[in-house]
Amino acid sequence: MSDLNPALDEALVSVQGLTLDLGEGQRRRTVLQGVDLSVARGQAFGLVGESGSGKTTVLRCLAGQYRHWQGQVHIDGQPLGGHGAGKRPGAWGASPDLALARRVQMVFQDPYGSLHPRHTVHTALAEPLRVHRLGDVDDRIDQVLDQVGLPLAFRQRYPHQLSGGQRQRVAIARALILQPTLLLLDEPTSALDVSVQAEVLNLLSELRRSQGLTYLLVSHDLGVVAHLCERLAVMQHGVIVETLSTDALCAGDARHPYTRTLVASALA
């Protein structure tokens, strides 16, 4: 695997000094403290850490779910509106939310919770098209079902008629249908059996190649991150403690004690 160096390639995602507080008054806590990361176009970048380390929060900031962060975030060279958003008109056009959603889509951990139980696969996949006023609904759905390896007849199924792996394929299809450049993957396989996890991981690497996607993957599983990503950052208590290439990680070149602990438990 080649180690793409973001300094040489064009960075699709660049995050500098990302800081976020949550809560009010006495319960106010800093959950992200000056996170810096950079993901090259076409790269898969992993964020590893325990629950509460802030890795999912980074994704939520990039997805526009949190707005009150401070720092600088650029996606595809354009600044993302954080603290004081709206003061920079024009960065993402007239409707920044829609424009951002076209380029950045997220896949969530739990395929049981992230699909509406009373919406068919067709309804779930047609919704983003409707929101973005895109036509050719049927063609686009056929195409995306094919991409994620689901039979076209699955269109009329409800989530409870699908296995966990099939549901996660639907969730990936829903993210892909807008043809984004960046996929934010939040523990996309941790709710799945290892055999199904292998299928979904293979699908994700195949899609990245064929669609030229860039991934930012959050996982607590070092094996999954090492399999899918070329570079990774290790987070602890809202801070990135180490950023390194997967090759370096596997060669045992991790320096930070926490990274070493993670490697040791992954190799155990």
């Binding site: 055999s195 599983d221 090492a226």
Partner: protein, 279 residues
């Protein structure tokens, strides 16, 4: 040689559906002595159903049959509802996957453990409180007095699981059935909970039935492994022999795990053979 603590012979579980009986566990047999036995399989393989059948905790439409289902000399299939509730929690305990859903959200941790303590012996309030704190300390909770006053939502996942274990220890169980006790936990916390279980098994003369989907974990943690597929045990082997597993299903599960040691461009995908689910 004395009889094993648990003897399961030809256990079948089926659910009554609209089209007759749907079998979910088919002819599972094993014995369990003083050891750590793992039952491993994918979701839907029937591993949890086996654990629940032992406690007779299955819904009413479940149909359980077996040639023999004996725990410590007691026939679990013939036992009355009253006998079963005497067994459950006292001599046969179970801890579940997610402490968030297994603990009562509107009761303090101390009060919940206290219930289990009072069930074992009637103690005065102060004696009960002391016992609760001892138990919390036993599961390596640092400030037992403070934690006893807390509510489940104030605990982390690892602490919640320790509280469940403390509750189990309030009685003196012989057999602990642990159903995915660590899969809701972070990697670093997971090891601590496993170490704790290990310690208790060694100290308290406890046998452990460990139900999990994580083959790699049981290789280090358990003594013996049963691999289940589609309601059957397809392979039974010593945990340290796991890498030499013969059954193609076990081999496929082992190789499907992405590993830091052997990196591959794509992961081998399980090709299910209909023969595996045949007798």
């Amino acid at each position: 040689m004395s009889a094993p603590l648990l003897q399961v012979d030809q256990l079948n579980v089926a659910y009554r559906g609209a089209d007759g009986l749907v079998p979910v566990v088919k002819g599972v047999s094993f014995t369990l002595g003083r050891e750590k036995l793992a039952v491993v399989g994918e979701s839907g393989s029937g591993k949890t159903t086996v654990g629940r059948a032992l406690l007779r905790l299955l819904p009413h439409h479940a149909h359980i049959t077996a040639q023999s289902l004996h725990f410590d000399g007691i026939d679990l299939l013939a036992a009355s509802a009253q006998q079963m509730s005497q067994l459950r929690g006292r001599r046969l305990s179970m801890i579940m996957q997610d402490p968030k859903y297994s603990l009562n959200p509107v009761m303090s941790v101390g009060a919940q453990i206290g219930e289990a303590v009072q069930r074992a012996d009637a103690l005065s309030r102060t004696a009960c409180q002391e016992r609760v704190e001892q138990l919390l300390a036993r599961v390596h909770i640092r400030e037992p007095q403070r934690v006893a006053r807390q509510y489940p939502h104030q605990l982390s996942g690892g602490m919640g699981q320790r509280v469940m274990i403390a509750m189990m220890l309030a009685q003196k169980p012989r057999l602990l059935i642990a159903d995915e006790p660590t899969s809701a936990l972070d990697v670093s916390v997971r090891q601590e909970v496993l170490d704790l279980l290990d310690e208790l098994v060694a100290e308290q003369d406890l046998s452990l039935l460990f139900i999990t989907h994580d083959l790699n974990l049981v290789g280090h943690f358990c003594d013996r492994v049963l691999v289940m597929y589609a309601g059957r045990v397809v392979e039974s082997l010593a945990a340290n022999q796991l890498q030499q597993a013969r059954h193609p299903y076990t081999q496929a599960l082992l190789s499907a795990v992405p590993s830091l040691k052997h990196r591959r461009a794509s992961l081998p995908v399980l090709q299910r053979d209909p023969a595996w689910s045949a007798a």
